[in-house]
């Protein structure tokens, strides 16, 4: 998963944890000692599974919250998809929480910031039977669409069956593939979706009455409660579904509805009068309107939120970070810092080593030792933008070991040049030629200077290849690319390494446009992936995934972990109820109010 939004790959990551599916994460925050001591708010809380009682609305009132007012939301990137079936990037994931409800969802505690998975449209997070092969969901009473029509199991079924249509290409595929087959073969089960009147057989997806939805899988699927929290497993009224046209006018089930959407320019959400707070344990409906405008570069949103004047006092951003060039100014401003947050995001930035070209493991090891993580991170904003990484899985995943740092990146933020030199000498590859590819955006250009300096000091000969930012991921995503080293980013879709390790490190995924950018195809790793995938107990599987990720790094070195991402952001002084949505790594809008 790449951080660059245009590559469509930033999604949620969560931490799986103990007990029934616990989660924790233990980052004290900060990539350096000093940073750690000054950033207590960065702790990742992890996610727990909520009960049926937790799934009952209304959400707890936020102290001091008032109704009314308009909130301006300044966003950099335009939303391309409003159709919940097509949503998969962070900006849209957080946006859809205001109008789209799913079978389960994430409830963020207003005070502690801790996150629970709870029933959203459903009364609970699901009941499994038949050894995990069957999952049953019951819809709550009083659920309505924005036009006042009741939400029934037929609408939930339609939201799933439409994902089989050929125009649905961008959203998550988990549930469809589990129900009907891997890859794109699932589409054969319902060619062109439900639009011709066909439906999935009841032996796969059953809706015995208006309230009940039953999923039948051919093997145990322990992670269904998380899969049905993804935005595409909600409710879509068949009569209002105009296929591609639904993208502009989705029918709301949440507290807000789309009033005006101008692609590329902005979107306005207004109250949905038919949303009943008693059915919703997650969301509030404090503000009258959210007016979201696009095109605000971080420099612009930071300037406006820092100035905090006029209508901008009631402005915020859902995931624009503070502009790296203005971080020091913001840090000096106590008043501004009081209306800011800095939290660890689920994304891990890595530098992939193309194992199709760099076959010598000692050379890869030398690269890993030499890579200047600290100086590299500095170009992206320093400790406020991330924490130096030692592992391929981030602090938000259960089992993450803060002390795991096999290449001693915290000790040698500029890279251990001496060690790298020795390794290169041992390999008899002094002067080894490395082609380093990077995008033509400013941080990547700046970072290329420190990377080249470190690698050349270690004895490599480095050739820089600057690639167009817009086509960067297309170019590095080609299996026959001619580069040796390039940056990418990835996070889990939910608190399980099953959404990290297999896609990024399985030999099955060595193909064009795959997230396996290093083209790793190790029989031992592949075998281990298959073994862990068969573990039915998520609690046991979670630490196994983390251990395997550590093995991948120490035994194969296909990537160098560089930094765990952080979000440092501001909001206007006239706004309250701001909290961090850990699974999506963005600001949660569901409790926001105007003071």
């Amino acid at each position: 998963m790449t951080v660059n939004r245009t590559s469509k790959v930033r999604t949620c990551a969560i931490a799986l944890a103990a007990g029934a599916l616990v989660l924790t994460a233990c980052s004290e925050g900060g990539g350096s000692g000093s940073d750690r001591s000054t950033e207590p708010t960065m702790e990742a809380h992890g996610i727990t599974l909520g009960s049926a009682a937790d799934s009952t609305g209304p959400a707890k009132e936020v102290p001091g919250a008032k109704k009314g007012g308009t909130v301006r939301v300044l966003q950099r990137d335009a939303y391309e998809y409003l159709d919940p079936g097509q949503i998969y990037v962070t900006d849209e994931l957080i946006m859809q929480t205001v109008y789209n409800r799913t079978l389960t969802n994430y409830q963020v505690d207003d005070k502690t910031g801790k996150t629970k998975l709870v029933g959203d449209l459903a009364t609970d997070i699901g009941r499994s039977s038949d050894g995990g092969r069957t999952w049953t969901y019951t819809l709550k009473d009083g659920l309505k669409f924005e036009d006042g029509t009741p939400i029934t199991s037929r609408d939930v079924r339609h939201s799933i069956e439409r994902l089989y249509a050929k125009y649905q290409t961008n959203g998550p595929l988990y549930l469809q593939q589990w129900l009907s087959g891997e890859g794109q073969t699932f589409r054969k089960a319902l060619p062109d979706g439900p639009y011709g009147g066909d439906h999935l057989p009841a032996s796969v997806l059953d809706t015995p009455d208006d309230k009940t939805i039953v999923f039948h899988f051919d093997q145990p699927r322990a992670e269904v409660p998380f899969a049905v929290a993804m935005p595409n497993i909600g409710a879509v009224p068949p009569g209002k579904d105009k296929k591609e046209g639904y993208n502009k006018a989705p029918v709301a089930s949440g507290p807000y509805k789309v009033a005006d959407f101008k692609p590329g320019k902005g979107i306005t959400f207004v109250r949905n009068e038919h949303w009943d707070p008693k059915t919703d344990p997650i969301r509030h409906q404090y503000v009258d309107r959210f007016e979201v405008s696009f095109g605000h570069q971080w420099m612009d949103s930071t300037r406006r939120l820092l100035a905090d004047q006029g209508a901008d006092k009631r402005a915020m951003t859902w995931n624009n970070a503070v502009d790296p060039a203005q971080i020091s100014t913001v840090l000096k401003d106590k008043e501004a810092m009081a209306r800011s947050l800095t939290r660890t995001q689920p994304y891990v930035d890595v530098v992939s080593i193309n194992t199709s070209r760099v076959k010598n493991k000692k050379v890869r090891e030398a690269l890993a030792w030499a890579f200047p993580n600290g100086q590299y991170l500095q170009q992206y904003g320093g400790p406020k933008a991330g924490e130096i990484a030692g592992s391929l899985v981030g602090p938000t995943l259960k089992g993450h070991n803060r002390d795991f740092d096999p290449f001693q990146k915290r000790k040698y933020p500029g890279g251990n040049i001496k060690k790298a030199k020795e390794l290169l000498k041992e390999a008899g590859k002094e002067g080894y030629r490395i082609v380093y590819a990077y995008g033509n955006d400013k941080p990547a250009q700046d970072a290329s200077v420190v990377v080249v300096r470190a690698l050349e000091a270690a004895g490599f000969t480095v050739e820089k290849k600057e690639l167009d930012r817009g086509t960067y991921y297309t170019q590095i995503g080609k299996v026959n690319n001619t580069y040796d080293l390039y940056r990418s980013s990835w996070s889990a879709d939910w608190p399980s390494g099953s959404t990290v390790v297999p896609p990024v490190y399985s030999g099955k995924n060595v193909h064009d446009s795959s997230p396996n950018y290093s083209h790793l195809n190790s029989p031992t790793i592949n075998k281990e992936i298959e073994r862990i995938e068969r573990i039915e107990d998520l609690d046991k599987a979670a630490p196994e995934w983390v251990k395997l990720a550590e093995r991948v790094l120490t035994e194969e070195i296909p990537q160098v972990p560089v930094f765990y991402n952080r979000l440092f952001t501001l909001w206007g002084s006239g706004i309250g109820g701001v909290k961090f949505h850990e699974p999506y790594g963005a600001v949660d809008p569901t409790a926001v109010f105007v003071r």
């Binding site: 612009d300 406006r304 100035a307």
Partner: protein, 325 residues
């Protein structure tokens, strides 16, 4: 005049067709893959093939180009629905029709271009005339120095400073934004004021220098000397003889500048977060959105071509020596 306009219009159509062909075929020479943008996180070759089919990118490039050009004249049918002529297709990115999107963005660009043009023409040409009138004096030197300074400034620099000082700092100017003039003329004016001033600052310097140099040159021409010798007043000589001679090249440059601005003032639009045609062009390149890119390119090119023809036609009015042969 009519023959001239018909001949130039036919030439313009040929130029636009050539531009469209070059843009279309160059796009496919890029290492871009529009399907990748709609392929989600766990993309694979089968998904890419499906998306290419959805977007019509699985057909041979000449066929795609032919369908695109026919659509402009006759409209086309897409899975999303029928697209009436002039149909530039649907955006690869958000499945929105291209033509209404451009129509939606154009008022912002038009407001920006015309407002800035009024400022830079009035002030730039005015300063140039004063400098020429008072050539050699301290006023001339001051204005020439200011022009040099203005020419060396850039929108992305001055714009950001102005935003920091006048909007965020002193709070004496409104946050730049486009509000339709038909809805609220006062907000339209206040929202566009800063972009106009900053954009015009750069052009103003050019027009000031150009006007001054043209006028100074004209003031040394034989016909001006003759007019003076005939005893005409300095004001009459300046405005009726020198100014009339100097205006032709200014109009030429102005026509081209205005055409370019109507094609989108990209940096200004980005600096002030305005959603005009220029920003749309940059975004469509960044997102490898071929239909949108084609639409914006053709509209921008058409603006330049049309204004060039208009300027050429105006020449005959301004300068009687020119004949539209």
């Amino acid at each position: 005049m009519l023959r001239f306009l018909i001949r130039r219009s036919l030439g313009a159509v040929v130029i636009l067709v050539l531009i469209s062909a070059i843009t279309f075929f160059l796009f496919f020479a890029l290492p871009a893959d529009p399907a990748r943008l709609a392929c989600g996180k766990n993309c694979d070759p089968a998904s890419l093939a499906l998306i290419n089919e959805n977007l019509g990118l699985d057909k041979p490039i000449p066929v795609q180009y032919g369908e695109f050009m026919v659509g402009i004249v006759a409209g086309r049918d897409f899975p999303v629905g029928h697209c009436d002529a002039p149909c530039f297709g649907y955006s690869f990115v958000n499945q929105e029709p291209v033509w209404p999107t451009i129509v939606d963005r154009f008022p912002t660009t038009l407001s920006l271009a015309l407002g800035a043009a009024v400022v830079f023409l009035a002030v730039g040409v005015g300063l140039g005339m004063i400098a020429a009138w008072r050539r050699g004096t301290w006023i001339d030197k001051l204005f020439s120095s200011l022009s040099l300074l203005g020419q060396s400034l850039q929108v992305y620099f001055v714009g950001v400073l102005c935003l920091a000082w006048f909007v965020s700092g002193l709070s004496i100017m409104e946050q730049p934004a486009y509000h339709p003039i038909t809805e609220n003329p006062a907000r339209w004016f206040s929202g566009m004021l800063l972009p106009w001033l900053v954009l015009s600052l750069i052009f103003m310097a050019n027009y000031s220098r150009m006007t001054r140099s043209q006028l100074v040159e004209q003031l040394h021409e034989d016909h001006v000397r003759t007019a003076r010798a005939k005893g005409l007043s300095g004001r009459t000589v300046f405005f009726r003889y020198a100014w009339r001679g100097a205006i032709a090249p200014i109009v030429t440059i102005f026509g081209m500048d205005l055409g370019s601005l109507l094609g989108g003032a990209m940096i200004t639009e980005y600096t002030f977060t305005l959603h005009g045609v220029g920003r749309l062009a940059v975004d469509s390149v960044r997102l490898t959105d071929l239909p949108m890119l084609m639409g914006v390119m053709l509209i921008s090119s058409a603006a330049i071509v049309v204004f060039t023809i208009v300027v050429d036609a105006l020449y005959a009015v301004i300068d009687p020596r020119v004949r539209l042969a």
